[in-house]
C-alpha cells in the first residue's frame, strides 16, 4: 500500500499548475497582444492615409504662399497656418491665467460652495458641444462688434481650454506634498507667496503638460471658429505688419488690426476645401489635414518630452 504524503501531493499539484499556468499565460499574452494591435490599426491607418493622400501636396509654396484664385493650381495655406497660430495663441493667453488661478482656488478650498461649484461647472463646461461654445462667442463678441475676428475665435477656444487647464492644474497641485506648503508657511511666507513661488513651480510640469494638451485639442476645433473667425483667404500677416511699420503704427495698433480681422485657421480651411467642387482644393485639403495632424502630434510629443526632461532635471 502506498501512502502519498501531503507534501508529495503538493508537489504534484504545483507541477500540474505549472503546466497549465504556462499554457494560460501564453494564450492571454497572445490575446492581449492581438487586441492591442487591433486597437492601434485605426490610428496608424489614419496617420498613414493622411500622409499618403496629403504628402504629395506639401512643398515649400504650400507653407509660404497665400491661396491662388479658385481653379488655379499652386498656392498655399500660409493664411491658415498663421491664423491657427494666432487664434490658438490668443486662446492660450486668455485661458491660462484664469484657469491656473481657479485651479489654485479649487485645490485649496475643495469643500466650499465656490469650490464645489467650480468643479461642477468645469465638468459641465468640458461636456458642452464646441459648436455651442462658438455660438456663445458669436453672441458675446461678434454680434455686438458687428464683425468676425480672431479675438472672438480666441475667446471661443479659450472657453474650451479652460476646463482642461483647471482640471490638470488642480490634479497637479493636489500631488504637491502638503508639507512643502507648510514648510513655506512655517518660514513665515504668506499664502499667495507660497502658491506662486513654491506650489506653482512644483506643479509646473503638470500644468505645462495640461496646457499643451489643451492647445492640441483646441487647435483641431472647427465648429467654434465657424461662428467667430469666419475665415479669410486674403489674411496676410506679413502685409499687415509691414504696412503697419511703414505707416509708423505702434505695436498695439498692429496687434489690434491682427486680432480684429476675420481670420482663417487650419481646421476651418480643411472643412471648407474638402467641400469644394474643385479637385485642386480637395487635394489641398489633404495637405492641410496632414499639417494639422503633424501639429497635434508634435504638441503631444512635446508635452511628453517636456515631462521627461523635467524629470531628469529634478533627479539632478
Amino acid at each position: 500500500m502506498t501512502t502519498t504524503s501531503y507534501s508529495e501531493l503538493l508537489k504534484k499539484g504545483v507541477e500540474r499548475r505549472r503546466v497549465s499556468r504556462k499554457g494560460t499565460n501564453g494564450f492571454m499574452l497572445t490575446l492581449t497582444g492581438a487586441l492591442t494591435v487591433l486597437a492601434l490599426i485605426p490610428l496608424f491607418w489614419i496617420i498613414g492615409y493622411v500622409f499618403y493622400k496629403g504628402g504629395s501636396t506639401l512643398n515649400l509654396a504650400f507653407f509660404t504662399q497665400l491661396p491662388k484664385p479658385v481653379g488655379m493650381t499652386g498656392g498655399g495655406v500660409l493664411h491658415a497656418i498663421e491664423g491657427s497660430l494666432i487664434v490658438t495663441f490668443l486662446a492660450t493667453i486668455m485661458a491660462f491665467i484664469p484657469g491656473v488661478l481657479a485651479a489654485f482656488y479649487a485645490a485649496r478650498n475643495p469643500n466650499t460652495v465656490l469650490g464645489i461649484g467650480l468643479r461642477f461647472s468645469t465638468d459641465v463646461l468640458s461636456g458642452v458641444p464646441s459648436i455651442v461654445v462658438g455660438l456663445f462667442a458669436y453672441a458675446l463678441i461678434v454680434k455686438p462688434q458687428g464683425h468676425y475676428s480672431a479675438l472672438a475665435g480666441g475667446v471661443a477656444l479659450a472657453i474650451l481650454m479652460v476646463p482642461t487647464i483647471i482640471r490638470t492644474t488642480e490634479e497637479m497641485l493636489k500631488l504637491v506634498p502638503t508639507n512643502l506648503r507648510e514648510a513655506s508657511l512655517a518660514l513665515g511666507a504668506p499664502e499667495w507667496k507660497t502658491s506662486i513661488s513654491v506650489l506653482l513651480p512644483a506643479a509646473m510640469d503638470g500644468v505645462i503638460t495640461g496646457v499643451l494638451l489643451a492647445i492640441a485639442r483646441a487647435a483641431g476645433e472647427t465648429a467654434p471658429l465657424l461662428f467667430t473667425t469666419l475665415g479669410n483667404e486674403r489674411f496676410d500677416l506679413g502685409t499687415i505688419i509691414s504696412s503697419g511699420v511703414t505707416n509708423h503704427q505702434s505695436i498695439i495698433q498692429i496687434l489690434g488690426r491682427i486680432f480684429s480681422s476675420p481670420i482663417d485657421s487650419l481646421p476651418l480651411t480643411l472643412w471648407k476645401y474638402a467641400g469644394m467642387p474643385y479637385p485642386e482644393r480637395v487635394q489641398q485639403a489633404w495637405g492641410v489635414a496632414l499639417i494639422l495632424l503633424i501639429l497635434v502630434l508634435a504638441t503631444n510629443i512635446l508635452a511628453r518630452v517636456w515631462i521627461e526632461i523635467r524629470k531628469r532635471k529634478l533627479r539632478g
Binding site: 514648510a183 508657511l185 512655517a186 513665515g188
Partner: protein, 276 residues
Amino acid sequence: MEMNMNIEVKQNKDFTVNEMAEIKVRTSQLSVYYGKFRALTDINMEIHDRKITAIIGPSGCGKSTLLRSFNRMNDLTPSAHVEGKIELDGEDIYGKNVDVVDIRRRIGMVFQRPNPFPKSIYDNVAYGPRLYGIRQRNHLDGIVESSLKQSALWDEVKDKLHQSGMSLSGGQQQRLCIARALAVQPEVILMDEPASALDPISTLRIEELMHDLAKSYTIIIVTHNMQQAARVSDFTAMMMIDETRSGRMIEYNTTNIIFTRPQDKRTEDYVTGRFG
C-alpha cells in the same frame, strides 16, 4: 570567602541632573481643539533654553499637535482653536497683537519627510531671507554659506549650490531643510520626526547635528523612536491619550531619569516597550 571587617556603606545618592537653564517656552493649561474635539488637554511644560526637549508617546497621542501649536501651524486648520497660553520669552504667542509671521520666523520647523522646494540649493536656503526683504547678493551669499555650514552640509554642496535641492540624498535633503530653517535666524527649532524617513546613518548624523545646534538654539523634537529621544534629548515629555482620546502629558523630566527611573508606570511600560 569575603572578609567582613569592612564597614559597608550604602549610599542612596540621587543623581538628578541639575541643569536649571533658562525657560525659553512655557505652556500653561494649553488645550487644543479641532471643532468640538479636544485634541490636547491642559499641557503644562517648560522648555529650557538651548536644550533639546523630546516629546514621545504612542501614535495619536497629540505629539505633533502640540509641536504645531508652538509656531501656530494649527492656525492653518480652520476648525482648530487654542485655550491656555504658550509663552515665548514670556510673551503669549497667541496674544492679540502678536504677528504670526514673526512667531514663525522665531520658531522654525523641520518636517518628517525632507521637503526641499523645487529650487536650487542656494534658493532653498535664501527663500526665507528673501521673504524678509533681503535681496543683496553678497548678503544672501553669506547667509546661505553660514546656514549650510551650521547644518553641516556646506562641504558637500559648496560647488553645487545651483543644482536642484532634489538632487541630494535623503539625509542631505533633510540637512538642507534644516539650513533653510536656520537662515531666518530662529530661536527655537521644531522638529517633527526629522529622521523617520532616513536610513540609520543619516539618522545618526541628524542627531549629532542636533547636538551641535543645541549650543545656539532651543530644539523641540517629536519622535516615535524612543531610542532617538533617549540619544539626543536633555529633557523628555511623555504623552498619552486619556479616556476621551485627548492628549495629556503624563510625565516630564530629564531624559536620564525618564529612561532610567521613570516615575509613572505608563512611562515605564512605554520606554521598556511593553506597550505603544
